[in-house]
């Protein structure tokens, strides 16, 4: 049986794994992918010690750093359930059964004394007509992945935070023009990004606009939005990049306490309501979704795991 299973291999999970290796815990990482949303996040200029990098390179460095510490990373595995094998409150401490599916569909099951959930988030969808139908046919949730396909064409970005601003900046270098559709009257992101977007002559910002419809034939050719006086407008665009926030990957743990937006509730030690089960990174209710915060939180949770193992096992 493992001392610990870490689920997820991005900033929180990898940072925790480096500390776990140095504490000589018997543990492994089980994960769908390596790098998670970091890998798809484009240019990165706020990770201390590295002035400029990008999501792919940072995710690669994460993997290499874990491997240098002989961390076992089992990827292409989707955890579907975590269950305590013994009732809580007993003298011996919990044991958890972690189960799920491998990429081929076969099932796996592992046991551990503790679990650290660092499963991150996935992009929120607009849930409007045409969105599903035109996914990968003009509608994308990853500008870094799919943006380069829209060279010289008109595109739209939907959203009002850092991800939307970064998307618009990247697309302005590729597309012929970029409409940014923001449902609010202001942007929520960093001032440095807002300035870059506002000053870019290829970008047109449309405030207080609700995206209502995505239209096309085989591929997207237009987007309809409603302005603040309820007037409908049509933009002829070939690409629509949706960056309207994230949804926590938290729906697979029966009995775990979530907040109103489905984030796992943790305290400052990374403890959840289930003794022995910890969480860290963007999947939790800790404010500010940043790589550096997720990394630090992963380490705090790991050190709490060590304390817990010393006390309970």
């Amino acid at each position: 049986m493992y001392d610990l299973i870490i689920i997820g291999a991005s900033a929180a999970g990898i940072s925790a794994s480096i500390y776990a290796a140095r504490r000589r815990l018997n543990f492994k990482i089980i994960t769908a992918d390596i790098g998670g949303e970091v890998a798809t996040s484009g240019e990165i200029e706020n990770w201390p010690g590295v002035i400029h990098t990008n999501g792919i390179d940072l995710a690669d460095q994460f993997r290499k750093h874990a491997e240098a510490n002989k961390v076992v990373i089992e990827s292409d595995k989707w955890v579907g359930d975590i269950k305590p094998a013994r009732p809580a409150g007993g003298k011996e401490g919990n044991i958890f059964v972690v189960s799920g599916k491998n990429s081929g569909g076969s099932v796996f099951e592992e046991k551990a004394k503790t679990v650290l959930v660092a499963t991150g988030v996935h992009p929120r969808q607009l849930t409007i007509p045409g969105e599903k139908e035109f996914k990968n046919k003009g509608v994308s949730y990853c500008t870094v992945c799919d943006g380069p396909l829209f060279g010289g064409q008109a595109v739209a970005v939907v959203g009002g935070g850092n991800s939307a601003l970064e998307s618009a900046i990247m697309l302005a270098d590729i597309a012929s023009c970029v409409y940014v559709i923001n449902k609010n009257a202001y942007f929520k992101g960093e001032k440095v990004l807002i300035d870059k977007v506002s000053k870019n002559s290829k970008v047109e910002i449309i405030y207080e606009a609700k995206t209502q419809n995505i239209l096309g034939d085989n591929f997207v050719n237009a987007l309809e939005y409603q302005d603040k006086s309820d007037q409908m407008h049509k933009l002829n665009v070939k690409g629509i990049f949706v960056h309207i926030g994230q949804i926590p990957n938290s729906g697979f743990i029966p009995g775990i306490e979530l907040d109103e937006v489905k984030q796992i509730k943790v305290n400052m030690r990374g403890e959840t309501n289930m003794p022995g089960l910890y969480a860290a990174g963007d999947v939790t209710n800790i404010p500010y979704k940043q790589i550096v915060i997720a990394a630090g939180q992963g380490v705090a949770a790991l050190l709490s795991v060590v304390d817990y193992l010393n006390r309970n096992h």
Binding site: I34, T40, D76, K137, D146, P148, L149
Partner: protein, 77 residues
């Protein structure tokens, strides 16, 4: 066996798939759909969609880095 992968330079899954090919000593041709308009059109003709990566293994098409499907087509365990 001819393996082609349609990529963009910034796509993390494309990168992961190329790493996977290298680890398994699979020779592949890369078609950058950002730099090469003909490659872009070829990918659209083959798949009717705009997501990358797209993999063509002897004419069999996989959209996205679906490792188990790619392994199966390559005859890897």
């Amino acid at each position: 066996m001819i393996v082609k992968i349609y990529t963009t330079p910034t796509c993390a899954y494309c990168h992961a798939e190329k790493e996977f090919f290298k680890e398994n000593n699979i020779a592949f041709q890369e078609r950058d759909v950002f730099a090469d308009a003909a490659a872009r059109q070829e990918m659209i003709d083959k798949t009717g969609q705009l997501g990358v990566p797209v993999t063509d293994i002897d004419g069999k098409i996989v959209v996205g880095f679906d490792k188990s499907k790619i392994k199966e087509l390559l005859g890897l365990k």
